[in-house]
Amino acid sequence: MNRIAFAISVALAVGVAHAQDKTIKIAGFGAKSGPVRSFGVNSEAALVAAADVINKGGGVKLADGSKAKIAIEFYDDRCNAEEGISVIRRIAGTDALVAVGPTCSNVAEPLFGILQKKVDDASDSGLQFPVFTDVAIKVGLAKISQWAFRNVPNEMTMYNSLFYWLRTQYPGLKTVYGGVEEDFAHSRATWYIVMKDRAAASGFEVVGNTKWLLADTNFATQVREMKKANADIVAISAHPFSACGALKEMARQGVKPKVLVGLTSSSSMETLQGCAKQAEGMIIPTSFAPINKQAVAAAKTTANFKGAADLHSMAAWENVFILKQVMESERISGKPGDVQADRRKIRDGLAKLKTTDGLIGVTKRDAEGEADKPYLFVQAKKGEWKVLHNPL
């Protein structure tokens, strides 16, 4: 963390040294406390790393032709709704032009609720501040407000493609069984709305599902149900802690499905820290893997700022570059008096985007403010996530 603080202070010091240099503030926020701390730490590192790259290249071009450096300020919201709301109000009170965050869907949902629902609706006193989410992934959140945008993977497309690929790759497999972490908004929605439906669409027979809770420790009964179903494919829609618990119980009871599918968020280091041996062979669709030169470079730069590159933190990285592009195309002024006008320009610019350049390919954007990102399939092999297939 000290290095980041150091980097920021250097950036600020440089700003002071060259008085003609302006700065554009982008606020980051997310969880840096509690069990999801690693997400916040990685996002912050990716934001600072991306800003560093842009600043080294001169910075952002403003309306009057001058250049401004990007400064990142990161706030911890503890994955708590009330604190998230306080944080966004605090950010809106500074001269930050846009915010990137949050980590948790249970923060994103209330937070988008306090934003103005429709732009230019004078009867709605909601906050007018653009938020460009990198991590919170629960299906269908950006439509809550026209000030909310997301650059998170579209699970619908990803699992559709994954099950289709499995269908062609393993024609002998017929049945799918689900394991769902029932009390967490994201994992729950991913099974019931996404996986179950997409598996059926690819011609698999969904033979049932079993449920557990986020902090559960005993999976004996659930895994017995799973064993009875004896499905060819087991899809686990759960976060790493309970996913590992269930996988370990599966190993104990000798449940060995032919293919194991996991939740997008599990394709991080967490699962491998918790249970690399039992997760061996698990296939997960993800929107990031170091498959080309720029992706490798982004991962390396982020590592220099003590952050790991995964589908979530690299979305934060992409967001900074997308925002730079929007700021330049919308010709923001960057002057202290124009903060609200610049925020509006950024919002309009984000709303206008039809496509954006991502690290592993072109992302399509829709009218609701959601992204349809390129993706690939990774598989856990000997304690690492290896690229299994690139469908694009």
């Binding site: 604190e83 306080s86 605090r90 949902e109 306090i114 909601g126 908004a185």
Partner: protein, 288 residues
């Protein structure tokens, strides 16, 4: 400035939660069910404004009624247990309420959207304030009217015979009973008033966050409900307010300049506060 108004809203809501535990603590009962009453109030007010289209004020009245009625119903069986047993019994009840909302679906179509609570996914778009064009400071004033009302009520209790009776039961039940105080009436009434205050607080909370889900009303919230009056001290209602400002204003928001240390200091400073002021910020070292 909006940030401070927003923070004041949050402090107001938490003060109501703390006050609801304060009056129950005066009778010597430690209740972890307050988060449950808070949840009932939140869902009741949210459903009335969003689904039934009520104005917020009558909806909050309904929250108070629901919270109070439920607390009254819990008060009777809970009378049978004391001390740690009561802590766990009320914890079980509060968790039961939370888990009820985890399983609670009630949606109606409104335009093209379906609105209302859906079990684990929560209840979204409780936007009474922004939809009616209320500014942040107006919402703050609105919330603080209720906080001031609740504080005035409890302050008045403290001055009256009723307050003396509450404290007498809290100090020594046996002695209180032997001078003819009706323990049942005292304990159940304190619980009911507490439940009603928690209900109002919950109703305001739902409109503050615009989205509620079962996980927001967990044991941690129940623990904070009793933490505020304990950290603040039971000598007066101002203690609870001070403790909420200490926790939400200083530990959560005020220490942001400490960066990563903020989270570590949160628990550490609570430990320190209890070591320095065992009877609370406003308490004298007389008794608990």
């Amino acid at each position: 400035m909006d940030f401070y108004f927003g923070l004041a809203q949050l402090i107001g809501v938490h003060t109501l939660l703390g006050l609801s535990a304060y009056i129950v603590l005066l009778t010597g009962q430690v209740s972890l069910a307050q988060a449950g009453f808070f949840a009932v109030g939140a869902y009741a007010a949210g459903m009335l404004t969003v689904l039934a289209g009520w104005h917020l004020v009558p909806a909050l009245g309904a929250s108070a009624l629901c919270g109070g009625a439920l607390a009254c119903a819990v008060g009777f069986p809970a009378l049978r247990v004391k001390g740690l047993m009561l802590v766990i019994a009320t914890l079980a009840f509060g968790e039961g309420v939370r888990l009820f909302f985890f399983n609670f679906d009630y949606q109606i179509a409104k335009g093209e959207l379906k609105v209302g609570p859906v079990g684990g996914e929560g209840f979204r778009q409780i936007r009474f304030f922004p939809e009616n064009g209320w500014e942040t400071w107006e919402v703050m004033l609105f919330i603080w009217v209720f906080v001031a009302g609740a504080m005035a009520l409890l302050w008045w209790f403290d001055r009256s015979r009723y307050g003396a009776v509450l404290r007498a039961v809290g100090e020594d039940e046996l002695a209180a009973q032997s001078v003819g105080i009706n323990l049942t009436a005292v304990k159940v009434s304190a619980m009911t008033v507490g439940g009603a205050i928690a209900g109002v607080g919950g109703g305001l909370y739902a409109h503050y966050t615009t989205h509620i889900e079962h996980a927001s009303f967990n044991i941690l919230l129940a623990t904070f409900a009793i933490a505020y009056p304990i950290v603040g001290g039971l000598r007066s209602v101002y203690g609870t307010l001070l403790a909420v400002i200490f926790v939400q204003g200083i530990l959560v928001e005020g220490l942001r300049f400490m960066g990563d240390w903020r989270n570590l200091l949160f628990g550490a400073l609570i430990v320190l506060a209890m070591n320095l002021r065992p009877s609370g910020i406003l308490g004298k070292g007389r008794h608990a």
